[in-house]
Symmetry: C2
Subunit: 256 residues, 2 copies
């Protein structure tokens, strides 16, 4: 694995030549210096509000199977949520679901600027560079962001198992939905439990939509990818879904 | 003037605090090393295919009057057209209007990659950084790109004098159109002589649309801004147009 460690971002398998590029903005629940633990208990630090449990393992499994680069975060989303623009209250949230985030309660503009410069800008600059280099070389990368969601939110259980979310262009998301339903027993749904209206497609809107790149966001219910074995099994299940969805779009005579 | 010289991009008045940020992607007809003159005659090097004559002077005049930063190119658009993504044939065109561009006739992928890395990526990274910093500080910058077009194109004269072009959100463009018609004698038109369908809104699509920033592209017929005096006069004319358009959008009770 060729890693490029650059502080706010790690790109695994950077030179991989498959058609997909995977992104995992909520990969880890790390609270390194200088940010620290934001005053959170260890319980909250390991809860789903701090990261997307299982998403990194799934994204790695997909990237390996599909010979793809994986661009991933190195710090908790509670320090900076890389899937939100700097002006969003959710970028450095003072509260997330049922938890107060003490270290974000009274951020001043200078502190917001520091986190934006240290985390948001380098993450997205590295992703932009990776995609632009492929485009300059005549490739047309497909952007897939990988997330997980909690089975119980604000006390209510969620039935959806695989959420497939799109930004402006729904074509790949619709094809993935059809293939997921055809190939797997998962309860797969479009724009559920989130959609672009919830601000969750920022990475897609920033990198795929203006470049005309095919893109989709995958949201797995995290109880289905709770350990390495389950993550590997889900990657084995979803890699052919992605490939078949892509083949569907690339069929001749089909308007996409 | 506080300039930041960083190779592919110059940011003039970077610390300026007005609401607008101006961009001039086709500011100059410079052909510096290592790119050289692409085999072009000095006549073609000074023609409108190599840059947007008058646009930089106009953009500077607007930036000074409106206390705004100006992000501008340092090389000819024929080396890399910063208002085009790397996969666009127009990014490093082999032909532009009636002129062949010998130095772009047989670019291989490695050469396209080199220009993308040296020119496109740093230009847009610097612009992204400037905008994201303002957003982190609680400001909501308004992006204005400044261009010029030739009075005669493929042998046909153009009547339009001021083109006002929008990307996904037409609100500021429409307000500028109304104010330009009310305040000036210019033949002002919406999405003329170009529109987003001609790929001319790449900078807006990359930086304004995904961030929800108000934005507009101004295209002046270049015979109207042919020298410094005319550029200053046009800036004096258009600065109040932009301010009035913005005030129109900021009116309470108006849905924007």
């Amino acid at each position: 694995m060729e890693d490029q460690l650059q502080g706010a971002v790690v790109i695994e398998r950077r030179a991989a030549q498959g058609p997909f590029v995977f992104v995992c903005e909520h990969a880890v629940n790390a609270f390194p210096a200088p940010w620290g633990d934001l005053g959170l208990s260890s319980e909250v630090q390991s809860a789903h509000v701090a990261w997307d449990p299982g998403a990194l393992g799934l994204a790695r499994g997909l990237a390996e199977r599909l010979d793809a680069p994986l661009v991933r975060a190195t710090t908790s989303r509670l320090i900076y949520d890389l899937n939100r623009p700097p002006q969003s209250p959710g970028a450095m949230p003072a509260r997330s679901e049922i938890f107060d985030i003490p270290g974000n309660a009274a951020l001043d503009p200078a502190q917001r600027l520091t986190r934006t410069q240290a985390l948001y800008l380098p993450f997205h600059a590295q992703l932009r560079t990776l995609l632009a280099e492929k485009l300059a070389l005549g490739q047309r990368p497909i952007l897939v962001t990988v997330h997980s969601f909690t089975p119980v939110y604000h006390g209510r259980p969620r039935a959806v198992e695989l959420g497939i979310i799109h930004d402006a262009d729904p074509s790949l998301a619709c094809a993935v939905l059809e293939e997921a339903r055809a190939q797997t027993p998962l309860d797969a749904r479009l724009n559920d439990p989130y959609s672009a209206a919830d601000e969750v497609t920022h990475t897609l809107a920033l990198h795929a939509t203006p470049m005309g790149l095919r893109n989709v966001m995958l949201e797995l219910r995290n109880d289905l990818i709770a350990d390495a074995l389950a993550q590997a099994a889900m990657a084995a299940r979803l890699a052919p879904v992605l490939l078949a969805a892509l083949a569907r779009l690339d069929k001749p005579l089909e308007v996409v």
